[in-house]
């Protein structure tokens, strides 16, 4: 998977200002990144990791989720029928598939596919005031991680996991 870019958010740098969410909403009508608040009050944006082995794509009965040239996992609205199983939403371990009230009723990050066509990066990355949202090569992520960011990420993952599962 080297040479493929993805989104990386350093949760320890994020101040929960919601700029990413609103910029995404302005660019894509429906936001594909969502601010949430963990039980102990840390504000965190939930976002798609464009995983190596995307569970959402595996779970989709119609194969509507596919990887594009740059490595982004993309929802193809012409194949998605917005099925009631919502398997993709349930399968995502990062809570990054969102139900909406328009179209096929599923929204997910496509790393700003339209903007990438014109040589621009994802909008949330460009506008994050703190520099917490990064558009980086997948291989670079271990180098970017700090002790603080790992701790913050663990807090978020603990918050997201299903109750009773350790």
């Amino acid at each position: 998977m080297s040479g493929r870019k993805t989104l990386y958010i350093d949760y320890s740098l994020c101040i929960g200002c919601e700029t990413c969410e609103f910029v995404c909403r302005f660019t894509n009508d429906t936001s594909r990144i969502h601010m949430t608040r963990t039980a102990d009050g840390v504000m965190v944006p939930l976002y798609c990791r464009h995983c190596d082995n995307p569970k959402c794509a595996n779970a989709c009965p119609r194969g509507a989720l596919k990887r594009d040239r740059d490595g982004a996992v993309i929802l193809q609205p012409m194949l998605c029928r917005g099925c009631q199983t919502k398997n993709c939403i349930l399968a995502c371990p990062h809570a990054a598939m969102f139900e909406t009230d328009r179209g096929v009723m599923i929204a997910k990050c496509d790393l700003c596919a339209q903007r990438r066509q014109m040589g621009m990066g994802p909008a949330c990355v460009e506008m994050c005031p703190c520099g917490a949202v990064m558009y980086v090569d997948r291989d670079e992520i271990p180098k970017l991680e700090t002790e603080k960011s790992r701790l913050a990420l663990q807090k978020v993952l603990d918050h997201l996991k299903l109750p009773g599962k350790n």
Binding site: C17, T19, E21
Partner: protein, 360 residues
């Protein structure tokens, strides 16, 4: 460090379209609108009373949360790549008396609003929220009582060496911080860093309900801040200076009164919007959505966005409001140039916006 790219909507500088827009206030919503409009080829001029563009992102929020360089570089890109003109130290006068709001002592030039309207094709007001809420208890006007903004602002602003800007003297004193938003947390942080002998942090509810989240409070406690919950300030003691703060704390055995031996009180309980000419512009109607064009005020070609319109909020909401308002402004100028404004008499733009729904 990469800059914030306010021009994120276009990849290269736009062809000038011959129109100019004046933006009052260079905070998040003003800069987002600037980026949007300069991407469409507008000549944008930004007016701000402070010595540097950035607004509360730069002067209210501490640098360890938002890196200063990111804002500075973003603003420089706006100037160099998009040809935006920034007028700093400039205030557009003004509904209240000068020196009424935080940061007023920086302004060297005062421009009239009427001239602005004539000079530009359209104006956008993004003046944010710079007046602090008051506690409304006896002793509030004593020296040594600050609002959150009064306390935090000089710590950043003193770097720009304006006269009359002094960092509050905290070293060796006991400080009481009231409120549990992020600015209250920042005040407590700063007080510890400035060498306060003791910091009490008061909140009227419990840590679990605090807007900043329990995690932040836990971190403050680790720094030695004493957290007092379910506490209401009653009176600030002292005659010429603060001698203490009387509070009532509701515990299991009813309400109990306590006196904290503090020399400084910081009430970080929020700000209110400070738009110029709120009445003349009919901002109340804009807030309710009773306008015929999204974010347009009672004066045609004057638009409003950000905290100035909707009150204190998060950066994201201000950015979104600035972007939407800029889009609305550009649409309006285009239709006006074609003399087709009537075609959109009953447009539903306003009704679409969440929170501004008509009749909701």
């Amino acid at each position: 460090m990469d800059p914030i790219n306010f021009n994120f909507l276009c990849s290269e500088p736009a062809v000038p379209n011959g129109r100019s827009v004046g933006i009052i206030g260079a905070g998040p919503s003003g800069l987002a609108a600037t980026g949007y409009l300069s991407c469409l080829g507008y000549q944008v001029e930004v007016y701000d009373k402070l010595p540097k563009p950035g607004g509360l992102m730069l002067f209210g929020i501490p640098g360890h949360r938002i890196p200063k360089e990111r804002i500075d570089l973003g603003v420089r890109n706006l100037e160099r790549l998009a040809g935006v003109i920034f007028h700093t130290h400039t205030k557009i006068c003004c509904s209240g008396p000068l020196h009424d709001e935080e940061g007023d002592h920086f302004c060297r030039e005062i421009l009239g609003f009427g001239d602005m309207v004539k000079k530009h094709d359209a104006i956008m007001i993004c003046t944010g929220s710079w007046r602090s809420r008051k506690l409304g208890i006896p002793g509030e006007n004593l020296p040594g009582v600050f609002s959150g903004l009064e306390f935090l602002f000089p710590i950043r602003a003193v770097q720009y060496c304006a006269p009359n800007v002094k960092v509050p003297e905290v070293a060796g004193k006991a400080v009481a911080v009231i409120g549990a938003g992020h600015s209250a947390v920042d005040v407590a942080h700063s007080a510890v860093h400035l060498g306060a002998a003791k910091v009490f942090h008061l909140y009227r509810r419990t840590a679990r309900e605090a807007p900043c989240g329990a995690f932040e409070i836990e971190q403050l406690r680790e720094m030695g801040v004493e957290w007092v919950e379910k506490a209401t300030p009653v009176r600030i003691l002292g005659e010429n200076e603060v001698k203490g703060l009387e509070i009532s704390v509701s515990g299991l055995d009813g309400i109990e009164n306590r006196t904290l031996p503090v020399a400084l009180v910081v009430a970080a309980i929020g700000e209110t919007a400070t738009p110029p000419f709120a009445k003349e512009l009919g901002l109340e109607n804009v807030r309710k959505g009773e306008v015929r064009w999204l974010h347009m005020t009672a004066i045609e070609n004057v638009f409003v966005a950000g905290d100035a319109l909707s009150g204190p909020s998060k950066i994201g909401k201000a950015v979104y409001s600035g972007l939407r308002s800029a889009r609305s402004l550009a649409n309006w100028l285009d239709l006006k140039a074609q003399d087709r404004l009537d075609a959109y008499e009953d447009n539903d733009l306003v009704a679409n916006e969440a929170g501004f729904r008509r009749g909701a």
